[in-house]
Chain length 553, copies 2
């Protein structure tokens, strides 16, 4: 078995990044430890990255929002001489499995999105200060920032050399962000993506590849000035003090099952099924925002989000055979909604706001997880408000009707709250209920009218909130049949089916990155011209160029 | 060399379809000749189809608009007992090359789109009357119709069994049309796509999979009534008589080069380059719509569209090694625009309207062609109005500046016309200039102000209409360098790069089908779980089920 990849880290463990905090402005230095890669067989030269570098970046961005909310502008720059970042490490990619490549790209994409989300939602603006070569994934990192400053030193450049050099795509959002975020003219984008050495100087500004060019002698001064300007423009009005994201309470058993404070993950390895259970809150909601700040990382809603996020990432990378994730929950739905009400009533407070925004990201991470997702809604379950979103994120849901023999827990119910009607948009910018009811928008109004009412199976079924309703006699059989059937299908066909069915309706830059760009990249990652023995990705660094089958498909 | 696939056919040659015309209503019977497949090794049982069936369908739909414009409703039904259509022939798919599968799906998708376009643009409404099994590509054909009537005979059903049966996707628009056109609830769509035998009766209506259920005894009566209703609803006001789409004047040389009346295609096989040249009109435009009707298929604008369409399809299927298409033109730009002005002034006339709409489809076909497209704009060229769209469809354009030694033709110029500002939307529903200038919309207004003015290289370059401007000394070298460079890259990487860069901006059902769904299908078409020796697609019909690698990616 491959070593377990751990997504938990903290500032004391950083090997690849260094952060300097100075009031409203933080400076984030990329300083990749060449020996600090996740696997053997490659060195992370030229500030190239592998998953270990991105795990740290995700942690830094997350802590910036919770631990350093006073920061209003983040300058992202290289801590090395003559190179900004050479992108994803090619030897790592060349040696990685198809599944690792795909999951790695997805996680890096999600992390790039958090940079944009930090600016849009929390007024933490990322500015990229480029000195030296900024190529491939390095430039894609820059593209995720709001403002790119390039030094005019005669050699520093931005580049997307994947096509000419490696026969793959700039797949970490690169192609989508140049056309749809930066709106580079498509023929210039074509030229740009074919120039190995990239574009520098005035041309980079003229082609809209960077926002400004700074004389090298005045580079630091101009970068500082821009950072102050962005900080001043931040819409944030408070000047908050952060909380600590303390280590998760997590234990991992020998059989691979995970246990957190309110999330447990048990794996039926033969069946390829993961049972993920979430326990609702037992404690009362915080009485006031001061109490919330005192609870900090112990607060149930924050704790549950962090645990769920970690569990999903763990499953994606460490449990590839588990094709189905079964979501269950337990607890007191009204108490959960009471917690939520506190948060929604206090959205003006930075921490209450950040926690809701974090749930939005965690739920998006679930939407984007390439496993069959199913919710089993059983007696005593707690699919209320925020947790009900998981039912709507699932590919299907099965709900128990009436009393179950020998079970004295309350009948299964769904409890909708205000949170289900706008606080958690998906990547397509619709709520999960809007996406679900594209064809029958009247169902949304009907569901809205039933907020704060326990909806047992008959009512939930009538409102279209669940896929199936079964009684005591049939439920277990139906669940078993579903799991067996799902396990008998091709995992690839299911991955593609789910990717197409989950995101109906409008498209956004995010859905385009995960839907279109990623699908094309995944295709390329299967093509002999890239990954065959003579393929360009495989041969990179060997001194031999790739040999291509010239036929177009 | 594989036998050449010919996209030209006519009513006298139909083997798979039969059409009955009765005034405003036509009935199109699918009656596939089992022995009439394009290749050996399979029989087209159960009204399953291969490319030969779709070539005929495309021809029927096209002729419906030009030869039978009085038709306002088309009933699509099976000419066979107990089966509507079993979809694409699986043995054909199992044996076809990756490139053939991908191009086959693209062409069938384009043909499905023409059914929808006929209703939206020309008031020819397609109604699907389903008796018997309607599965996979059969149901995808139904989905392209405006109204689906299913008989309630206790057995007839609609199905998308690709995932459970073949480990591939319903990739001919199926997944996109159920979520985005019919707006089927996503969990029900998931269930539907996992049921091999499909859904019948009332449930098919409840799940929005069909529009109505008809008692089998009254099926024909109800279908006829619906057809009359749709015909009555058609927005078409005229009652026109059609023209004949006479056979194309086409000759094919031994070296594979093609020659039509105004299009020529020469192939440099070693370099992988196609030189496609279009000669503008020599004759004056028609004096009046009666003259246009008399010219009929000889009219330059119609003739050129038909020839270009045929040439593009020929290149896609028969010349896979030709990775670059170089577009050139020659002629009198003002005369071409004079032709266009006649058409745009007479859009109220059905034939003038149909010809412009046909150009819209041909230009979309070019956009969707997986080859590098480049326009070389040389002295004496005729990139005006409609033909200028090809410059904007190209991935890059190279324009000659000034006098060329020994060349007494007029200097290269682009001539914009009204046609460039709204008549030819792309799949993303923007014009090519809107897509080009997403980041600088002011360029569109500047270009608009220069309509009907010859824009030589300096002016065209300043307006951002072309990628490169070179003089006499540099042009030839630069063109050569470009073609060599393009030929040195991975064809797969270029296909994916171009598919991502060509369609910035908003998404539509069409862009989702060609961008997202097709990319996922192409990925699946590479995966061992589908196409490996033990894959489900490969094994279909052998009595053995596919054996799957259970790991998710």
């Amino acid at each position: 078995m491959a070593p377990r990849i751990d997504f938990q880290t903290d500032p004391s463990q950083l090997r690849h990044w260094r952060v300097e905090y100075a009031g409203e402005v933080a400076t984030l230095y990329m300083e990749v430890d060449e020996q600090g890669g996740l696997f053997d067989g490659y060195e992370l030269k030229l500030n190239s990255y592998d998953l270990s570098v991105d795990i740290e970046l995700a942690d830094v961005v997350q802590r910036m929002r919770f631990e350093h909310p006073q920061v209003r502008a983040v300058v992202l720059r290289s801590g090395k001489q003559r190179v900004f970042c050479a992108g994803a490490n090619i030897r790592m990619l060349g040696g990685a499995s198809h599944a690792h490549k795909v999951n790695f790209c997805k996680f890096t994409n999600e992390t790039r999105n958090t940079l944009e989300a930090a600016a849009a939602e929390s007024g933490q603006h990322y500015i990229c200060a480029v000195q030296g070569a900024c190529a491939g994934g390095g430039y894609e990192l820059a593209l995720a920032c709001e403002h790119i400053i390039l030094t005019d030193d005669g050699s520093s450049s931005v580049a997307l050399p994947e096509v000419p050099l490696l026969a793959v795509l700039p797949g970490t959002g690169g192609l989508t962000r140049i056309t749809d975020k930066r709106k580079v003219r498509r023929d210039l984008a074509d030229v740009f993506c074919c120039i190995e050495e990239g574009v520098k100087g005035r041309r980079a500004v003229d082609w809209r590849l960077v926002d400004e060019l700074a004389p090298n002698a005045r580079f630091d001064e101009i970068v500082s000035q821009r950072a102050r300007e962005f900080a001043a423009r931040s819409k944030r009005t408070e000047d908050p003090r952060g909380i600590q994201l303390t280590p998760l309470a997590r234990s991992i058993a020998d059989d691979g099952s995970l246990s957190y404070s309110c999330v447990t993950v048990a794996i039926e390895r033969d069946a390829g099924v993961v049972n993920l259970s979430i326990a609702g809150p037992r404690e009362e909601p915080p009485a006031c925002v001061e109490a919330l700040t005192a609870e900090a990382a112990d607060n149930w809603l924050l704790r549950c989000a962090r645990e769920l996020d970690d569990a999903i990432l763990h499953l994606r990378f460490n449990e590839p055979d588990a094709g189905v994730i079964v979501f269950r929950s337990s607890g007191d739905p009204e108490l959960l909604v009471a917690h939520e009400k506190f948060f929604l009533a206090n959205q003006a407070h930075w921490l209450a706001h950040e926690i809701v925004l974090y749930w939005k990201r965690v739920l998006k991470r679930i939407d984007l997880t390439s496993r069959s997702l199913v919710a089993f809604i059983e007696p005593g379950s707690c699919f209320a408000g925020t947790l009900a979103e998981i039912v709507f994120a699932a590919d299907r849901s099965y709900m128990c009707e009436g009393e179950f023999e020998g079970d004295d827990r309350p009948p299964a119910a769904i409890l909708l709250s205000d949170a289900n009607f706008g606080h958690y948009p998906m990547s397509n910018n619709l709520t999960r209920l809007q996406t679900r009811f594209l064809g029958t928008p009247e169902n949304i109004e009907q569901a809205k009218a039933k907020r704060d009412t326990r909806l047992e199976a008959a009512a939930a079924g009538a409102l279209g909130l669940v896929t199936y309703v079964y009684d005591d006699i049939d439920m277990e059989d139906e669940m078993r049949v579903f799991l067996e059937e799902r396990g008998s299908f091709s995992p690839d066909a299911l991955t593609a089916l789910e990717a197409n069915l989950r995101f109906a309706g409008p498209e956004t830059m995010e859905t385009r990155i995960f839907g279109r760009l990623s699908a094309w990249q995944n295709w390329i990652f299967q093509r002999p011209n890239a990954v065959g023995e003579q393929g360009a990705l495989k041969r990179y660094g060997s001194g031999q160029r790739g040999v291509f089958d010239k036929r177009r498909v």
